[in-house]
């Protein structure tokens, strides 16, 4: 359950950061959600032998303890892997500010309590530029739908369904089963002959 997130901002001044960058495919063989933080942005932080590489922004002591990322357009595009969200959360990231997000990533984030704040491109750029120069703290208020940074206070749009889920920490599966069982049953009854998988008829080949 989340109402307010406050924290240090780390900038990633790149656009189109895809989920392959957030967590490489080799770590998808792990069948647990926990403990993925050490693989976050793995290829940007470690070389092919697994030794740490210099220069990745999140490893800069200046940004240690940052819990809010600000980045370019289309963050989280690409693969549907929810591991990307799990890795960010496990690493300690609580919110991401960007002009736009990949659709599946955005939904995965909402389901796991990772807050994605969509802002205008100029705002994202402004925060990136400032955070590259000095320490920037931001405050995200889900109740009032506001983002505060550098003494400024702006509103942001967020889908009501996403906001509610983040604030209440709802279990979608449980709620659907509890509230919509009847509706699902009626649909299945009505569409019985259409949705079935027919008996497979295989010709020899």
């Amino acid at each position: 359950m989340i109402t307010v997130i406050e924290g240090k901002v780390a900038p990633l001044p790149i656009e189109n950061i895809d989920t392959d960058q957030i967590i490489p495919a080799q770590f998808l063989k792990i069948t647990k959600r926990e403990g993925l933080g050490k693989y976050l942005f793995y290829r940007w932080r470690y070389d092919e032998q697994g030794s740490p590489k210099d220069g990745f922004i999140l490893d800069d002591p200046k940004y240690s303890g940052a819990s809010i990322l600000v980045t370019g357009r289309n963050f989280g595009i690409g693969s549907s892997r929810e591991h990307a969200v799990w890795a960010l959360i496990d690493y300690g990231i609580k919110a991401i500010i960007a002009p736009s997000f990949g659709d599946i990533f955005y939904e995965n984030a909402a389901r796991n309590g990772l807050v994605c704040v969509k802002v205008r491109e100029e705002i994202a750029k402004e925060i990136i530029e400032e955070a590259l120069k000095r320490e920037v703290y931001a405050r995200i208020d889900l109740e009032n739908k506001t983002l505060s940074y550098l003494g400024k206070n702006i509103g942001f749009e967020i889908e009501e369904s996403v906001r509610k889920r983040l604030m209440l920490g709802l279990d979608d599966v449980g709620l659907t089963l509890e509230l919509y069982e009847g509706a699902i049953k009626r649909y299945e009854e009505k569409m019985k002959s259409y949705i079935k998988i027919r008996k497979g008829i295989f010709t020899p080949l």
Partner: protein
């Protein structure tokens, strides 16, 4: 006012609404070994059942080895995920296309080819390229693992209704231009996020003129423009493509359903929130030079100069991409030498794609020093290709002829690039490290990949002899095997 096919399918499957989301019934749920284990684990924790195991299909594809299927699987983590899927399928009574099944393959190849995917259906799968199935007139969504859990438990999906986007493709393509080139040119034009939040409907005389397998390349690649889904209204080609497939409706039921499928096509005057039009006659064979599919150029172009971008974030992204790719601004695309060739993936590994590549390969040799492989999209594609003798064309030229799986597209099995290796790939993503740590990917069509294999560098396939179909396969046999549509 008329409706789009997407709205018709949406309305048909809508069970309820809450705030900005609708609850949609899911007619087909495909699951695979990588994104389903956590979902099943959580079902067990909460003591929930799989609501409709009979509408769920499990397939092993992402990390399966593509070598000898009688050899033991050496990667313990891959093996564990495969065994977990097997165990889950058995426990819950789910149809499984196992590693050893003669019908195993990449889920987005197998669903359509077995007739499991049908027009008008809603489809979900824990894989972003699920919209591939939209080429048959189905509404298909890639989903995350939490949503896989939701579909398993409820057979429904909560989803905010995306906007509708029309991509109208007009004109006749030039020689050697495949739907892959059209898709790459489109992504180059609208960008990696150009279709975010939208269901893309491909329309126009070009879309009508191409076959269903070429259409699947279009809907597949819409993923790389950020689309929520992609769809093509069913027509007579769609109906012919489905008829006679193993799980397709039997003949007496088929004609009734075909009438319904035709009625789903987008109505005249239907509203689209966004429209984009492209003349395909101007498109040349495409090659990506960067680390997103939108970083693409025509084969006769040059690698761009980062300093030509005014926007700082763009400039940094391009600089970074060129550094990773080991390319210099201003160099010709046709000067780029390659080490590897991959013909495979859910984008371009169907029989049509393999035949196209063979039209260039036949009688030629892979350049010495280049390692080239064909990974058919499914074991059925592989068998049919072998009946037609395609494997001999590839093997004689020096290609490896492998078993099916996602393979080098995602590099989760043994098929991977080594650091610095450069690959001409028919797959869908050229992201950093996608095909292996330090690997460099250039996305191309099967024709362009075939030409690159022979020359050891990128070359305009239009300068090559592209043999006529009858010199590649026996046309009567092609018809008998159910591929008559390729001739019409």
């Amino acid at each position: 006012m008329g409706l789009t096919i997407y709205e018709k399918i949406w309305d048909m499957h809508k069970i309820a609404s809450d705030n900005d989301r609708d609850l949609l019934y899911i007619d087909r749920h495909y699951i695979h070994e990588v994104t389903s284990p956590v979902a099943f684990e959580r079902l067990r924790i909460y003591g929930r059942r799989v609501r409709r195991p009979d509408l769920t299909i499990a397939i092993m594809d992402h990390n399966v080895p593509t070598g000898d299927r009688t050899a033991p699987i050496t990667d313990p983590l891959s093996l564990e995920q495969m065994e977990t899927l097997r165990k889950n399928a058995h426990q819950y009574g789910i149809m499984l296309l196992d590693y050893y099944s003669p019908y195993q393959g990449i889920v987005h190849v197998v669903g359509p080819e077995l007739g499991l995917t049908l027009p008008g259906m809603t489809i979900a799968c824990g894989d972003s390229h699920t919209m591939t199935h939209g080429a048959l007139g189905a509404l298909a969504f890639g989903i995350g693992t939490s949503e896989v859990e939701h579909v398993l438990a409820t057979q429904t999906l909560w989803i905010k209704k995306p906007m509708a986007m029309e991509v109208r493709l007009m004109g006749r393509p030039g020689k050697g231009v495949m739907s892959k080139d059209v898709a790459l040119a489109l992504i180059g034009a609208i960008g990696s996020g150009g279709a975010i939040g939208h269901v893309v409907e491909f329309r126009g005389d070009y879309v009508e003129s191409i076959n269903v397998e070429e259409r699947m390349t279009l809907t597949n690649m819409a993923t790389e423009a950020g689309a929520r889904s992609a769809i093509i209204s069913p027509d007579e080609k769609t109906i012919e493509y489905i008829r006679g497939r193993p799980f397709a409706p039997a003949s007496e039921e088929f004609d009734e359903l075909a009438k319904f499928w035709r009625s789903l096509a987008t109505d005249p005057g239907a509203y689209f929130h966004k429209k984009f039009e492209m003349d395909v006659s101007k498109i040349e064979p495409q090659v990506t030079w960067g680390t997103t599919p939108a970083m693409v150029a025509s084969v006769n172009d040059i690698v761009p100069d980062p300093s030509s971008y005014e926007d700082r974030v763009m400039r940094v992204s391009v600089e970074r991409a060129l550094r990773y790719m080991g390319l210099k601004p201003g160099m010709k695309i046709t000067e780029i030498k390659i080490d590897r060739v991959f013909i495979g993936s859910c984008t371009n590994a169907r029989l049509y794609d393999l035949i196209q590549a063979a039209r260039v390969i036949k009688g030629k040799k892979v350049k010495s020093g280049v390692r080239a492989m064909v990974v058919p999209g499914s074991q059925l594609v592989k068998r049919q290709a072998e009946r037609l003798g395609l494997h001999r064309i590839f093997i004689e030229a020096g290609f490896e002829w492998r078993n099916s799986g996602c393979s080098l597209c995602i590099g989760m099995n043994e098929d991977r690039l080594s650091p610095g290796e450069r690959c001409a790939s028919t797959s869908n993503r050229n992201f950093e490290n996608r095909q292996g740590p330090g690997g460099r990917t250039h996305l191309v069509s099967p024709l362009m990949a075939a030409a690159a294999a022979i020359e050891g560098k990128f070359v305009d396939v239009r300068e090559f002899e592209i043999l006529p179909l009858e010199e590649i396969v026996d046309l009567d046999l092609l018809e008998k095997l159910g591929y008559g549509w390729m001739l019409r």
